[in-house]
Symmetry: C2
Subunit: 215 residues, 2 copies
Amino acid sequence: MTESSRKSAYGDAEARRRMTLDAAAELLDEGGYAALTIRSVAQRSGTSTGLIYQYFADKQEIFIALLGESQTESAAFVEALPRDRGVAALIASVIPQTARQWVRVGRLIATWRTVEGDARYERESVAEVRETTRLYNEALRSALIEAASKEGRCLRDDPALLPFVLSGLMGISDTLVNNWPTDVDPSDLIDFAAEAITRGITAPDTAGQPGPATA
Amino acid sequence: MTESSRKSAYGDAEARRRMTLDAAAELLDEGGYAALTIRSVAQRSGTSTGLIYQYFADKQEIFIALLGESQTESAAFVEALPRDRGVAALIASVIPQTARQWVRVGRLIATWRTVEGDARYERESVAEVRETTRLYNEALRSALIEAASKEGRCLRDDPALLPFVLSGLMGISDTLVNNWPTDVDPSDLIDFAAEAITRGITAPDTAGQPGPATA
DNA sequence: ACCTGAACACCGTTCAAGT
DNA sequence: ACCTGAACACCGTTCAAGT
């Protein structure tokens, strides 16, 4: 029997963590942030409030774990995306995925600082999330570069490019999820945003048509 | 004595409302969302928790009032902005203003739905905020159109344009306020974003240089 | 050794009691 | 007539007590 499969007389720690996270995600999807209480998580995952605190230091820690998983999932999604349909198509595919994650986890990001105040946040779990964030960012950067090059185009060379794209995805996702503008079709917004962001981040064509250089 | 200057033996209702909102805004600026409790608002504005509920139906109503004031202020800011320095310069000026408002009020927007659940929200105050939102949006639209025309350029004709710009401003503001990317200078992000959004929303020049048509 | 849930210090909100 | 603040039903979190 390996170390990792060790179970207690009452339950497997890893499985218990998983059940807690699954219950939290379900509650979030069903009833939003307001429905996510420690008591309801405990009830749904079949434990007690006290026991949850043996696997998570506090409620924030549950958010952080969910956020990390969401980012890892998004990174895999981006890595699997086809590169051969151009930058705008790539971005148009990423937007709905971002929005989907935003429903569950975006509020948490938004509430994070807010709830914490300034709290110097040097928990280990935060460092882990920073790493998954980095992996997601790199996945997106590669995807953009590759999609551009398949189109015979170049991305602008600016360190602010990726933060701009990430900010844009976030803003559009928030707009889609909360549907602020009532008079525009979501898919029209997605298409316009994808093309506008693409115009924003690609370098001007040297020639008129994509293809080998010199007209 | 006019109707509007009517005061009670104990205090002026309008003044009391004002003091409540000022106290709420101060608490928000000082300690973030977590510091904004009804008890602390009551203490700071020199009333009691009970009395606050005579002027605001609930805590959300305080947010909504703050949000409306913030939007009105932003609309005035945008209207006062010079048009003669081009679209990108205009946007670069709007970003810090949006970010400033975002610190105070953005969280509230983000938390709104979240806190409410789906609650069919047909309070009068929400209708008012919708109106101030509309006024802000129109101010921004006019400013963009005028700045473009002074440059001899045109905005793209698409109903998704304004929602895209608003989403972008929101996303960038959130990134600035929470400084997600640690390795990029905020003012570099602002400049890049302003230019990228401009490239995204302006129609391609017919001629090379701005100026009268035909090259 | 592991797990529970009453207890604690908060929160938003109400309403009987004071002035 | 206007105002207060104890009381209520929650929340996140802890820890004595159970098994």
